[in-house]
Amino acid sequence: MLKKSSFLKELIQNTVESVLDEHSILAITDATGNIIYANKKFCDLSKYSIEELLGNNHRILKSGYHDNSFYENMWDTISNGKTWHGDIKNKAKDGTFYWLKTTIMPIFNNSKKISHYIAIRTDITEIIEIREKLIKAERLSVIGELSAQLSHDMRNPLAIIENANDILRLKLEGKLDEESKKVLKYSDNAIRRLSHQIENVLDFVRSNPLKIQLSDINEIIYLGINTLNIPNKIKINVDNKSLEIQCDPFQLEIAFKNLIQNSIQAIEKGSIDINYVELQNEIIIEFVDSGPGIPEDIIGKIFDPLFTTKQKGTGLGLTSCKNIVEQHGGKIFVKNNPTTFTIILPKNIPSQFGYKINT
């Protein structure tokens, strides 16, 4: 190693701390993990004040993401006098999570015992999030291609079964007893269920560019409702006013249909109210149902692909819905009491989100 000149030594001593403060978390704990020094970046990221951190054990930042063996391994390493490197997910005071690339080094006292640990950590939350998104996107694209292929391949056999049922009905007209008729009906229902799932999968994997045209929200909602089987015990109330925006009406119909279908399955009986208002630059559409609401422990996951609580669900309906809304440059969110899905759509879609067609 090069011998440091006194100039360099001085420079490092005087400035290294401020550079570190800009770049990293710097923390010192005693031998049991109680924090005795924390720099400003530590406070900024963890959202704790310096008073709250000092004297507290580093455990308060545990996110619950890593299992016990992860921390055991870390403690084994540093308590044996070695340096530990790793990526840790921590939880800030406000409950948000952040990722830190971490190096922890033990410091020895005169009698060669560990007296402190010094840790430098760099915020890598953004990188981890991008990486997770990429992995997810890649996995979904493979699943997407596979399921699209499977769905297409199922259509011909389904058409054959459906046609065969109709032939049997024609040929045996008048000769079928009630039970046999019922059996054919079951078969028809099964075909319908499969077709519905295929449509769901294909809606999800199709990433066609939007075909934007001036369309009436009221009309799109009714088109969606008309293709659904609405049970007698459910009443759907729609704001009956015309409201025109620039959008892809076919895609929005799929999104609305998925939301209404979701409500129908959630409430069994009751009402679904669909309201919309026009603001200066955007419109807000609300789907409110009289159901029991969405359990708090799953409400954060309902838009995730393949997440479903239904035996007959694909876990793609609400994901498609969210994709379509976001493709329009809009947002969708959900809350309970009463169960409300809110969609916000810009009146004029930014040009990167689609192309216009002439109508």
Binding site: E162, N163, A164, D166
Partner: protein, 117 residues
Amino acid sequence: MKNKLSGIIIDDDEDLLEVTSMFLELKGIAVKGTGYNGCDADRLYQQTHPDFVLLDMKMPDYDGAYAIKKIKAYDPNAKIFVLTGYIDYPFEKDKVEQIFPKPYDIKKLVAEIMQAC
């Protein structure tokens, strides 16, 4: 009285061809021919002059889009019904009577054929 309604059916799925023909025959429609690709469709149309064509889209060698081009060039009044699993398949949608995504309700299909022909 008009002669018995007649059609040709083109699909590369043999079983589907079979059951579709069977249903049409049961409904009193003559199936004048069946084929497996767009080339068959064109040839059968010119040979049999049917009232309508039931046409699959994605088929090997010559697809349904090819058949639409050829048949419409030969007879601009040809009545073509597309039965397909691929809704997004590129073809001249304005040249056909109707598009039925698979699986389709064959009773509805027959009703549409009767109305159009």
